[in-house]
Symmetry: C2
Subunit: 649 residues, 2 copies
Amino acid sequence: MSLPPILIENVSPSVDGGRYPAKRVVGDVCVVEADIFRDGAEVLRAQIHWWKEGETAFNVAPMEPLVNDRWQGRFVLADLADYRFTLEAWTDPFASWRSALRRWVAGNQDVTSEIQEGIRLIAACADRAEGEDCQTLEEALALLRDCGSDGDAALAVVSDAALSTLMDRLGARIQPVVYDPPLAIQVNRTRARFGAWYEMFPRSQGTVPGTGATFREAEARLPAIRDLGFDVIYLPPIHPIGATHRKGRNSALEAGPGDPGSPWAIGGAAGGYLDVEPALGTLEDFDHFVMVADRLGMEIALDFAIQVSPDHPWVRAHPEWFYLRPDGTIKYAENPPKRYQDIYPLNFQSGHAKQIWLAMLEIVEFWIDHGVKIFRIDNPHTKPFSFWHWLLQQVRRRDPDVLFLAEAFTRPKIMKALAKLGFHQSYSYFTWRNTKQELTEYLTELSQTEVREFYQPNFFTNTPDILHEFLRRGGRPAFQIRLILAATLSPSYGIYSGFELCENDAVPDTEEYLNSEKFEIKVRDWNRPGNLNELIARVNRIRNENAALHDLTNVRFLGAENANILFCMKATADKSNVLLIAVNLDPFHTQDAVVWVPLADIGVRAGESYDVEDLLTGARYRWGERNFVRLSPDGPPAHILRVERIPHP
Amino acid sequence: MSLPPILIENVSPSVDGGRYPAKRVVGDVCVVEADIFRDGAEVLRAQIHWWKEGETAFNVAPMEPLVNDRWQGRFVLADLADYRFTLEAWTDPFASWRSALRRWVAGNQDVTSEIQEGIRLIAACADRAEGEDCQTLEEALALLRDCGSDGDAALAVVSDAALSTLMDRLGARIQPVVYDPPLAIQVNRTRARFGAWYEMFPRSQGTVPGTGATFREAEARLPAIRDLGFDVIYLPPIHPIGATHRKGRNSALEAGPGDPGSPWAIGGAAGGYLDVEPALGTLEDFDHFVMVADRLGMEIALDFAIQVSPDHPWVRAHPEWFYLRPDGTIKYAENPPKRYQDIYPLNFQSGHAKQIWLAMLEIVEFWIDHGVKIFRIDNPHTKPFSFWHWLLQQVRRRDPDVLFLAEAFTRPKIMKALAKLGFHQSYSYFTWRNTKQELTEYLTELSQTEVREFYQPNFFTNTPDILHEFLRRGGRPAFQIRLILAATLSPSYGIYSGFELCENDAVPDTEEYLNSEKFEIKVRDWNRPGNLNELIARVNRIRNENAALHDLTNVRFLGAENANILFCMKATADKSNVLLIAVNLDPFHTQDAVVWVPLADIGVRAGESYDVEDLLTGARYRWGERNFVRLSPDGPPAHILRVERIPHP
């Protein structure tokens, strides 16, 4: 190892020292920082080199020193592409000389010799310059030669803006150093960061009790969901459901007559991954469903679960793709001491892994061609990292607008690894973070550490598998609290249908829904009393209208003198949109607190007041640094306050 | 990029992701940690591969999982050498199978098929085994075959220790992954971490006012310094001092008759870097001085300042090694608006840099051959990083026991870079960290962050250039406070002579000593009233006798309900030596505080008491969790309490 003359260290954004790309969305400004320094007191300069992968020429953006050898620059990520950047730094002899001259003059020292040095530097540059540039330099030289030992006059000459620009451009660059290797930024479409998701079983969108809906019937529900303000409709698997070992209601080992089975038991007499469950209709019906959603401004996210029912065509066509028992039979999915007789996992360790990989890619591309641009991947952590990395790269190459959400609820390092290797979004621990301390610590990790560069959480309030005790015990106020937390803390969030009706009957002492929709058909009155439709629609409208809610990393927790009141601020970088959010985390009691606003950070002078509008209720308040809030479980259990008047930006 | 089947991340110790070596001393146990994980629920195993640079075979040390995919292992750094290590991880099918079997049995499931799988795994291993190993495996197979579907019996068979050891050693290792590139550990001798330094000007060790001492005369001082408990005598440059532009007393531009000049103006009629200032004696006298120190158990650290007086032989022999002004004259050292007419810097940017590098190496090797094993490098931050990196590598190759201390007081990233590139020790900001908050924050950075892996500070209480206001204003109590802080917080610390006499006359409003020894000869009464000799000797003895003080990274700050009382704990890893240290940071007033001891961490049960002995006074106390301390500026302003009784280790 040999050391370069200038050290460039601690460059951000980078993930694991550049091993994985950082993530951004189209239109983001990429702010780059680095420690850049050398020995001695010479003046350094630095710039960013950035380009899109595949381009041969690079673009340049300037960097400026912040403090303590930390430098910063920025460039715009205009396109859906993979960007690369690196940094270049060099010693600037002209700037170094001018800086020293300034200090000599300030100290009333004789600068005769120093002026001669400056003449040499400019003359060397003039020798290389042409035309007008050369003329400008020669004029400066003539002026400088006339200065003799007059330091003030010399400083005036060499501080001229035109000369400075020219010397920046044409002056010698001593020992330039380029950071290596370049770092990567994966730029995705906006939906990778911002979107409101609604999970629903199409078969449960009907109106006749006990009868499953088809896609054509489920379409009728789409306008209402659009009215709630959702952007993405996420569907569990839509493929033929297996009959062998089909699970009955409440996960019973034997299905009763008419039990529809779990959509995650994929494959049956009607086909496999490339087919539609006949009870839902045809592929054309699905296409129509996608089209109607699209017309309403929504898109479809499709579940992709790599496990098949014993009836999937692959079981006969490719028995070698599965795990075999010593007696030659195919192994069920199992997680000792539990066995899942209705599904077989694929054996990614078998000698046929590459065939399996290609089959998976074929499935994804098939559904992309049917209008699906988002896949929610079921249990990605039980398949090899290298497989996902390959699959996501293949898809991105063909369809860079396709997004993948990792449904992994497992150990933290595995969830992070999936995000690093390419998943655009990830499920999170949000459902299990309910106290002020839990929420603060978790959001701080997600928003303030290196995790922010690669991990985009999607805060689901509930899923078909997770009905948290907070909702089970807290009832309607708890649903309101969790909705507002999810929708404001994270730019991507979702609910699983039934949430808006505050459904919270669970299998006792578990997070499983009682009479889970996974195993039976539901028919609901979507407008029954006590529903949260109005609040949901309002919250989604607030999200759409306030850019501060389109970012996860801008959350800042503020002081509230009550452990049940979470108080935080979200603001755009330019402070044009500043929100103060207070949530009562107690679903049972009214809570109040004094809350503190850092006035300087919202552009208000000490001692001055400002107006806030509660976007949930329309109420207006005059606030200061120290404010009183009282929130009841009966009213909206939160304030979402927009700062209306910012006197001193 | 393709991803391995098992991810190994966040390996420690490592510096900048492996770009620089971590530092340790001979005899240290190197504790290695890493995040190691893969998809799914298979059981992983991992081990360390370690070797000394230049060796072809590697050694193996086991790793065990801690929590959340964090693994740990260790190996001993027995030799003064450069070590390398990497990690290997693999999937263990036998352990995975046995883990699943255990869960099946616990869940009362039928395990007939599982037992058959286990038989296959062991049989495959038996096919490869020989002799006794094969026999052991065959016996186990016979027992397992007899189990039929009896899970408990099968578990008993496969939990056998001999079988487990054999399967660990001979069983299949699926998809092994080796971390790349290997990481480096630079192992130094103990003095790199632990030592008490005493800085002195040999010429000021005499007894006749106005007359400089020779090395032969200075030798007489060595036993007294040994009695104070110091390990290293650090000498400013000992070379001939230039006459041209020699500085006078108090840095006067013109020297008076008899003014000895600054030792840092190197080179004169009597020679340069390879010579001894005639007023100090001959090279033989220096050799003798080194020998006497060595017999007393001390070693010499020599200053190496790369800058010469206008009278150094190089100025005539190699004018091209220096910076030239436009008029052809050589440039003084300068730091606008200051000029240092008595010294010339060398031009490391000149075309003759390689010659200069080699000349520097020659100097260092010359003095190594005269018994110098420590160099204190003056202002290393004004020379290229690449030069130091090269020089230190060259020296380490020939003389791995030679140590370098970086005297850089500059911006934090530059100080850290010098440590990363090879300096064994570094000066620090300690002199400017005086309040409890300052000390706590600074020590926490040095001891708890990645900085601990490469930056070994040497806490000097004062230097010829730094007499801090705390000492100037606080008088004798302040000197006691700073001595105890330096000597207990950092295993390497030092004082500059005169400290023991509480000398604190400064040039007004500066950190410069008045009548600085840099420019004149001093004669002192080393035993004059008010000296700190007894305290210094005691503190150094405490350091030598308590292993907890031989480490920087074990400091832990504890609660003390008074901002003027710093309270911390230092303990060896095995808790055989536990110290509780309380220091009154206020040199003017008695302060008291309730201090809190985390009983569990010192091996005491809740509610129990323990004895402590104050190593400064010999007093004994019975302490508990909550204790009262009162410290006066008049007594020793600190407790250094050794926990005497640890009932429950």
